[in-house]
Structure formats: C-alpha cells, structure tokens
Subunit: 103 residues, 2 copies
C-alpha cells in the first residue's frame, strides 16, 4: 500500500538555502528508484523558514530502505547540524484521490 | 509556478468515514482538470482522527478557481458541519525534487 510522508524541517536562518539545496541534491538519488513516486522539496508560503518535503512511495518499507542507502548518508550527516531541532514527520496512508497509483 | 497545499481536517469521530468519502467523491471533479496534478486524500498513521489532503496544482490561481466550481459547493456544504473546527491549511511552493512538473 502506498505511503506518504510529510516532513517539516527548519534550518538555522543562514543555512536555509543550503538545506533546500541539499534536499534537492539528495532527491536525485531517488530518480532511478521506481518505488519513489514523488519527492517534492517545498517552502512554506506563509512561514518562509519552514521547509516541507512531501514524498510518496509504493510502500513504507521501500521508503525505509531508501533512507538506508549509503549514498544518502553524507547528505544526512551534512544537513542535520544545519537544522534547528528534529524534523516533524507525518506518516499518511492514501485512501483515494487523483494523480498517483495508491493501491 | 506550481502550488502545493496540505490540509489537515478532523471530523467528529462518528463522521470520519463520511468525510473521507466526501473528499474522495469531490476529488472526481478534478479528474478532468489538467491544472490539478495531484489530489490525495489520506489518513494519518499515528493520529487516526487526522485526515490530510495533499494537493498539487499548476498554479495557485487554478486552485482558487477550482474551489469556486458550482459542482463542488454541495460537497463543501455537506462536509463542513461534520468537522471539528476549521481545517489547517499549509501553502507551499515547490523548489525541486522528483515526480511532478514544478516549473
């Protein structure tokens, strides 16, 4: 069953652009992964310090496995210290709608 | 520029399934709208009362226009009284990533 995760990250202000860039760079690792259906790096319109990542995977296990990829670890190690605290993560199960396979 | 909105809705417990069904039904109105790239109706894994809608549009104006459609109004009128309060809405601007046109 498809799996959706919303993650809210807040960077130290001077590091905001670096964090956005790191997230976009690291997302390239998922380009060839058919289990990754969507990985959007976004900024909040109303709270400009908030970075949200919206990702959709074929299933939650595929997502967990992708986070273990050795190529991803340098991005995680570099980005974590630039954040103000631990990212908020919201795990979701799709029930219906438009635009992606959600079976 | 593409526009993403996250909406968190909480229904009165006895109305939860009705609200999910109404959202999925009303999403069918967007099936033929090329400006609607994604409209996912989801439930929180960890807070089962929370319903999240994740939608992506070609631009924010297209989203605003879609909400004005006369066919949508009965769904809104029926669903609003089933909620416990006003939905939380988070407006986002995509900066990069995988899976959708974001130009």
């Amino acid at each position: 069953m498809a799996f959706v995760q919303l993650s809210r990250l807040t960077a130290r202000p001077i590091e905001h652009d670096t964090v956005v860039r790191n997230l976009i760079e690291s997302a390239k690792l998922f380009d060839g992964d058919p289990a990754c259906l969507l990985y959007l790096v976004t900024e909040s319109v109303d709270s400009p310090h908030d970075i949200w990542v919206v990702d959709v995977w074929t299933d939650e296990e595929a997502h967990s496995n992708a986070l273990q990829a050795p190529e991803l670890q340098p991005y995680i190690a570099e980005t974590k210290p630039l954040l103000t605290g631990v990212p908020e993560q919201i795990r979701l199960t799709p029930r219906g709608g438009k635009g992606l396979p959600i079976g």
